[in-house]
């Protein structure tokens, strides 16, 4: 089982790396990071802050775009090329296929994030003429961004397991946007009464909460992030993505592929 899972994972990773869109996005993200020091020159007093905000936002935005654009094609491409039938005719279970695809894309995103982080720290080194102990705190924000990738990839895979690529992309982007407002949903739920309160509370927990995973502003201002938040965010991201992947597996398992 492990070998089958890892074979699909590494194959998905290899395929993603070969994808030209992926390279374009990485170059674009690195360019953004590289131009941040120049951008800071037209501002006043926020040279490092602007680099941190731009760099971390670039890592997050481009990672999410990569997750969605590659994620929507993970299942449909295999069906289109008929390669899925070859894979499933071997002793590979459907859930192994979905899980392998998920881990493969996740691996791609982690590797991308690693390169973008290296570029970001290089830019930081140039702008600040050295790195401080405080800069290690930025890694927590990057870790949370990776947790965001866990959820976005899982959700995209879920949509792609039953929908066309275009609709899967629309659904995934919409859910990401709604997820950034999830705190507003919680606030709305706390103000509502009766059935509305239950519905709003349910909706607030149903959509992924990306607000809790976004600490870019805090780390940019050198605010400390509690170990409790790191722990809860990790558990939340793992369990939420597990839920989405399990639903994707159930849907894909019941799907008529003939």
């Amino acid at each position: 089982m492990i070998s089958r899972l890892s074979a699909i994972t590494f194959n998905t990773f290899r395929e993603a790396v070969r994808d030209r869109v992926l390279y374009n996005l990485i170059i674009f993200a690195l360019l953004l990071v590289a131009t941040a020091p120049l951008f800071s020159q037209i501002s006043l007093g926020i040279e490092k802050l602007i680099l941190v905000n731009a760099g971390l936002s670039a890592i997050s935005i481009f990672g999410i775009i990569i997750a969605i654009f590659i994620g929507i094609g993970l299942v449909s491409k295999e069906i289109e090329k008929k390669t899925l039938y070859t894979i499933l005719s071997r002793p590979v279970r459907r859930w192994e296929f979905i899980a392998g695809k998920y881990f493969g894309l996740l691996m791609t995103l982690v590797v991308n994030a690693f390169f973008m982080t290296a570029g970001f720290y290089l830019a930081l080194l140039i702008v600040s003429r050295g790195l401080a102990m405080d800069d290690a705190r930025l890694l927590i924000a990057i870790y949370f961004i990776i947790l965001e990738f866990f959820i976005v990839t899982a959700v995209t895979l879920l949509f792609s397991s039953f929908s066309t690529p275009i609709f899967a992309a629309i659904f995934a982007f919409a859910l990401f946007a709604i997820g950034t407002f999830s705190e507003d949903l919680h606030n709305f739920a706390s103000l509502a009464h009766g059935v509305t309160k239950w519905l709003a509370t349910g909706a607030a927990y149903l959509v992924p909460n990306f607000a809790t995973l976004n600490v870019i502003s805090q780390v940019a201002h050198s605010e400390s992030i509690s170990a409790k938040l790191v722990l809860f965010n990790t558990v939340y991201a793992l369990l939420y993505s597990l839920t989405a992947v399990v639903i994707a597996i159930v849907i894909f398992g019941r799907r008529n592929l003939k």
């Binding site: 951008f39 037209i42 501002s43 006043l44 007093g45 926020i46 802050l49 602007i50 905000n53 731009a54 936002s57 997050s60 935005i61 990401f176 946007a177 950034t180 407002f181 507003d184 990306f210 607000a211 976004n214 870019i216 502003s217 940019a220 201002h221 605010e223």
Partner: protein, 313 residues
């Protein structure tokens, strides 16, 4: 294959021509729109809440962009010596809503807002509102209390409010010890120029920014010039009382042992002794913020805008 090779130079030519043409057309369009149309309209949404929601969680980055936008807006108006800075406060309000901990936008933003036009927006009340907002979000930042005291002292001439701001600031943790001294001194001699000089000097010493440093130094220079002119005019009065007529030149004061040599302003230009016994500076444009020694009816000359100077060249 041969046909495609022949097409390459043609394609390159077409590419260059099309791109150059598009640049010329765009420049024409920009000129037709007016340079300010783009800058004033883009990036400006009136509701801070709407902007925050549209940021999709990347509010820190958007705050930086809005702050840059505010700096650019201020810089352009400042360079053109304009009297109207209507968008400055909304831009700063959005910036600080997007990132309530962006201290620099409160500190420098309040200076931009409070200074009288054309140096600033001439809106000290809005500067105070911005700083109070900053203090609500960052109650332990002594620099914000200093800025509040600064605006109240320099631009609102509300010495009691300035004293209270310095006093509140001195009670924060990590407060600069100078704040306590400033609060105590202000209670005794709030309206002396020495006090104003001290405040500008403190700002000069504690800021790293070139623009703010330059501004503080210009203000300190202006205070020195104002003081010097007052002193020179005092000596001219003494001379007039002694001799019964005003001095014809600085040397007349020298002969009465009231002065040694020709007095020079900080730009190394001699002060002008006017027939009525008053003193004027040689070039008021090079000494912004001075309140004394200005020729009657003098108005600061507007600097040519970069586009205008290019046209002249």
């Amino acid at each position: 294959m041969k046909t495609s090779r022949k097409l390459v130079p043609l394609a390159v030519l077409l590419l260059v021509a099309a791109f150059s043409g598009s640049v010329i057309a765009l420049r024409g369009a920009e000129a037709a729109r007016g340079s300010r149309a783009t800058i004033e309209d883009v990036l400006y949404l009136p509701s801070p809440q709407a902007v925050k929601r549209l940021s999709l969680g990347y509010s820190g980055l958007l705050a930086d962009i809005y702050w840059t936008r505010a700096v650019q807006y201020f810089g352009q108006k400042h360079l053109a010596d304009e009297m109207n800075y209507n968008l400055l406060y909304p831009l700063l309000d959005i910036t600080t809503d997007l990132d309530p901990h962006l201290l620099i936008s409160y500190e420098f933003g309040s200076i931009f807002l409070s200074q009288p036009p054309p140096a600033g927006a001439g809106q000290p009340d809005k500067a105070v509102a911005l700083l109070e907002k900053g203090i609500r979000a960052n109650p332990d930042e002594w620099k914000l209390y200093f800025s509040l005291g600064f605006v109240n002292y320099m631009d609102r001439k509300d010495y009691k409010a300035a004293f209270l701001a310095f006093q509140r600031g001195s009670q924060t943790s990590h407060a600069h010890p100078w704040l306590k001294v400033m609060a105590a001194t202000m209670a005794q001699r709030a309206n002396e120029t020495a006090m104003a000089f001290e405040i500008w000097k403190f700002l000069d010493d504690t800021t790293q920014d070139k623009l703010i440093k330059e501004n503080a130094e210009q203000h300190m220079t202006a205070i020195v010039v104002d003081r010097t002119i007052m002193e020179l005019e005092r000596r001219i009065t003494i001379y007039t009382q002694r001799t019964g007529h005003p001095p014809a030149s600085w040397f007349d004061l020298g002969r009465e042992s009231l002065l040694s040599g020709v007095p020079l302003d900080p730009t190394e230009k001699p002060y002008k002794l006017m027939p009525g016994g008053t003193v004027e500076v040689a070039d008021p444009n090079s000494l912004p913020f001075i309140t004394k020694g200005l020729p009657p009816g003098w108005r600061k000359s507007t600097k040519p805008r970069p586009s205008e100077s290019n046209e002249q060249n």
